[in-house]
């Protein structure tokens, strides 16, 4: 185990001593729970409409696809006018775009980022490699099916998909959200053990907290 991940007692400059355990997240010591829909159908509909019109994307370029995000964020394609914007932290985002292949090393980070996002949250798989491995189908270091590790709401074909295809994806995503079918976060909570088992199968050194959000 890496030095900085070990449990240790730290003495601050003011003489105060405290214990640190980097592998434990103090704020969440239980698996995620399912978020029930609003009691009133009409309220849930309004919620979903609001959610669909404010897609905030986590700015984490996990693979090649990240390069086509730039044009979307800038004047020519201007995704902002469709209610889509990029956020620097998972805490503020509700859509995680897995932009292409995920190496196991990135998968580990992607899982933490995903778990830190607030419900309801959505995942879009971008490009062939999230669907069935793409051109890295025989690589020893990339996962082949994204839906084994994270619940995916939508896939966009291409290698890599163009900004216009991404915009089409956003439109489709909005429809799914409005229809109340974007239940990825709840799916993740319901099948938490299954997802964890899959994740641990490919991440051989699991040196991070079991749950984090």
């Amino acid at each position: 185990m890496k030095e900085e991940l070990k449990k240790r007692v730290i003495k601050g400059p003011d003489g105060f001593e405290f214990e640190v355990d980097p592998l434990q997240d103090y704020y969440c010591e239980a698996p995620p729970t399912v978020q029930p829909a609003a009691y009133q159908k009409i309220v849930e509909k309004i919620f979903n409409w609001a959610r669909s019109e404010s897609i905030w994307i986590l700015g984490f370029g996990t693979g090649c696809g990240a390069i086509e995000m730039r044009p979307l964020m800038t004047p020519r394609f201007d995704a902002y006018r469709f209610g889509v914007q990029w956020r620097p932290t998972p805490r503020q985002a509700n859509l995680f775009i897995i932009s292409g292949y995920l190496s196991t090393k990135t998968l580990k980070r992607a899982i933490r980022s995903y778990e830190q996002m607030q419900n309801p949250k959505y995942v879009i798989g971008l490009g062939s490699c999230t669907i069935n491995g793409g051109m890295y189908w025989d690589s020893y270091n990339t996962i082949k099916r994204l839906d084994d590790y994270l619940p995916v709401d939508l896939y966009i074909a291409g290698c890599m998909p163009r900004p216009e295809a991404l915009l089409a994806g956003f439109e489709e995503m909005k429809k799914i959200i409005r229809a109340g079918k974007a239940e990825g976060g709840n799916l993740y909570a319901e099948n938490f053990d299954w997802y964890k088992a899959n994740q641990k199968k490919v991440i051989h050194d699991w040196d991070m907290p079991e749950h984090s959000w």
Partner: protein, 598 residues
């Protein structure tokens, strides 16, 4: 740092007054460029399902799958590519390599789906909205990843070859063979088409590797007449070759010959290997042609004792007695036959069944009997005057030439027929005319027009080079005789159609277009039939027949459990079909003999 550095960034304010660069409707306003590599299109009618796209795809994105509405036929596997967009990287190598040019790419690029398994489709079969897109990536003109042109085969010049019966084709040099072998894309359509399923891509790969002995072993695994087939095979494989669609088919037949040319004959026996231990079973075969000897070869390798009865002086059957020497030298037949003999097969020549030995004897002495008696009787046109003595049949003439009989070539000859036999006899007679009279004067009249010609195109071409006149769509109507009953020519009418609406043979003629072809001799080369007189009357009665041919099951077995029939006499004339038939009969006989032991 100056005041300018503080003020100059404010120039950015001018952007307030510029027109926006934003695309108003990015979803509809931006079709892909004219050569954009978007989603796949496939012209399923042009596609032949050769699977070369699957071979070149480095992402294993393409599967070949059977498609209901596409029928398997010669040169079309009936499969079509299914592309997995969970793998594809849109590199378009599949488009570049496509043998028919049927696979292309549209300029459509938007496909969004919740179901990850939906990104799998058969272009052209599973309807997509981009099927009719006009723009998109097409293989640029002249951009080829495989050589399209065949390596030219050196042949004797027409002037040289017409004077003798020397073999015309030189055979490839090692360098040429390598270049030609390079062109194969190893799709295997030829394997399926070849009646005896020779492992063509494998032996072509052996040529590429320069491992001719491996190649020879592969040849003799499926075809003991490789020397013969390497020269005169009807090469159905080449008509199925995927390379022909945008180029010329791989010269599979010449490559087969190339392998046999490269391996010294002394090595053959060792490469073929020793037969299995003797089983004590005995099989008699009637007729030492390709079918009979193939069966003999297979059975001998399996350890059975085989005796072959051959009516004529030499074994080899139709390849020896029907095919002229300039196409297939006799010693090449001897090489294949000797190889079969070396496996322990006994061949009794000049032994006619029915005369020298009877069927009953064979039935009693042997565990199984195979009839492979070929088609050695020529058919007649039965037109008025066809019984004239100067009207002969091509098979008889060809046999006489092989037997070395003195033949006086008439000065002017007319041949009836448009198949390869017609070409063979025409070219043989042309050689005799050249030798005896110094000039060729020969007309071939064929029922078919050139668009539906029966003979190989190269035969037709070479006939032309040798000064033989070929007239297509001429139907023979009568032999012209002068007042002294001497033959002076043939009368023909123009053929309008050969088959009637039901597809039956019923030629119709345009009587106004009549021609007289002058000649001292007319040769009929319109087909052959079997001489079944060797069978006893009792046996003929007992056996089942099908339109004058022996009826056999799929394995070549007749209605009598001890008797099989194979080759031309049941399947019609073709060397490689005969070989395939021989294998089938051998397998069937072998399993019958095994059952008998148990």
């Amino acid at each position: 740092m100056s005041i300018r550095d503080v003020l100059s960034p404010f120039t950015a304010w001018k952007y307030l007054f510029r027109d926006p660069v934003t695309i108003t409707d990015p979803l509809n306003e931006r079709p892909g460029a004219a050569r954009y590599r978007g989603f796949h299109q496939n012209d399923v009618q042009a596609c032949i399902g050769c699977g070369t796209c699957e071979t070149i795809c480095q992402n294993a994105a393409i599967d070949m799958v059977p498609v209901e509405e596409i029928l398997t036929e010669s040169g079309d596997s009936g499969l079509r590519p299914r592309i997995d967009y969970g793998r594809c990287c849109w590199c378009a190598l599949c488009v570049d390599i496509c043998m028919t040019g049927s696979l292309t790419m549209s300029n459509e690029y938007k496909w969004v789906e919740s179901d990850p398994d939906a990104f799998r489709f058969i272009p052209g079969v599973d309807k997509k909205h981009w099927d009719d897109a006009e723009l998109g990536y097409r293989r640029p003109e002249g951009h080829r990843l495989t050589p399209a042109r065949r390596v030219e085969m050196h042949e004797l010049e027409p002037e040289t070859r017409i004077g003798s019966f020397a073999e015309i084709v030189d055979g490839y040099s090692v360098a040429d063979g390598l270049l030609e072998a390079e062109r194969c894309v190893a799709c295997g359509l030829c394997v399926a088409t070849c009646p005896t399923h020779m492992s063509i891509p494998d032996y072509i790969a052996a040529v590429r590797d320069g491992d001719y002995e491996r190649g020879l072993a592969l040849l003799y695994e499926t075809n003991p007449f490789s020397e013969v087939c390497g020269r005169v095979c009807t090469h159905k494989c080449e008509t199925a070759c995927a390379v022909q669609h945008e180029g010329e088919p791989v010269a599979i037949r010449w490559l087969k010959r190339h392998i046999t040319d490269q391996v010294p004959y002394e090595r053959y026996r060792e490469i073929v290997g020793d037969p299995a231990p003797a089983t004590g079973k005995r099989v008699a075969i009637i007729g030492a042609g390709p079918a009979g000897l193939t069966t003999a070869y297979d059975l001998a390798r399996k350890g059975h004792e085989v005796v072959v009865h051959e009516e004529r002086e030499n074994p080899g059957g139709m390849p020896r007695y029907g095919i002229p020497e300039y196409r297939l030298p006799y010693d090449m037949i001897d090489r294949d036959v000797d190889l079969i003999r070396s496996l322990g097969v006994k061949i009794h020549c000049n032994s006619r069944v029915g005369t020298d030995v009877t069927m009953d004897q064979l039935q009693q002495e042997y565990d199984a009997v195979l009839l492979s008696i070929g088609l050695h009787l020529g058919r007649s046109t039965r037109i008025p005057g066809s019984e004239h003595q100067q009207v002969t049949k091509a098979v008889d003439l060809l046999r006489a030439i092989t037997d070395g009989e003195e033949i006086e070539a008439p000065r002017q000859v007319v041949v009836i027929g448009g198949g390869n036999v017609a070409m063979d006899i025409a070219r043989s007679m042309a050689r005799l005319q050249k030798q005896q009279h110094g000039e060729v004067n020969l007309t071939v009249t064929a029922l078919e027009d050139f668009a539906h010609f029966l003979a190989d195109p190269e035969e037709v071409k070479e006939c032309g080079e040798e000064g033989i006149e070929i007239l297509d769509a001429r139907g023979p109507q009568g032999i012209m005789l002068d007042e002294n009953e001497n033959l002076i020519g043939l009368k023909t009418w123009h053929v309008v159609s050969i088959f009637d609406e039901q597809g039956r043979f019923a030629p119709s003629y345009d009587e106004s277009d009549e021609q007289i072809h002058q000649g001292d001799m007319v040769i009929e080369a319109i087909g052959q039939m079997t001489d079944v007189s060797l069978l006893s009357e009792e046996l003929t009665e007992k056996l089942e027949w099908n339109r004058g041919r022996l009826a056999v099951d799929v394995d070549g077995r007749t209605s009598e459990s001890w008797l099989w029939a194979a080759g031309d006499c049941v399947k019609g004339p073709d060397v490689v079909h005969a070989v395939a038939d021989g294998h089938r009969a051998a397998n069937s006989i072998d399993s019958y003999l095994k059952e008998k032991t148990v």
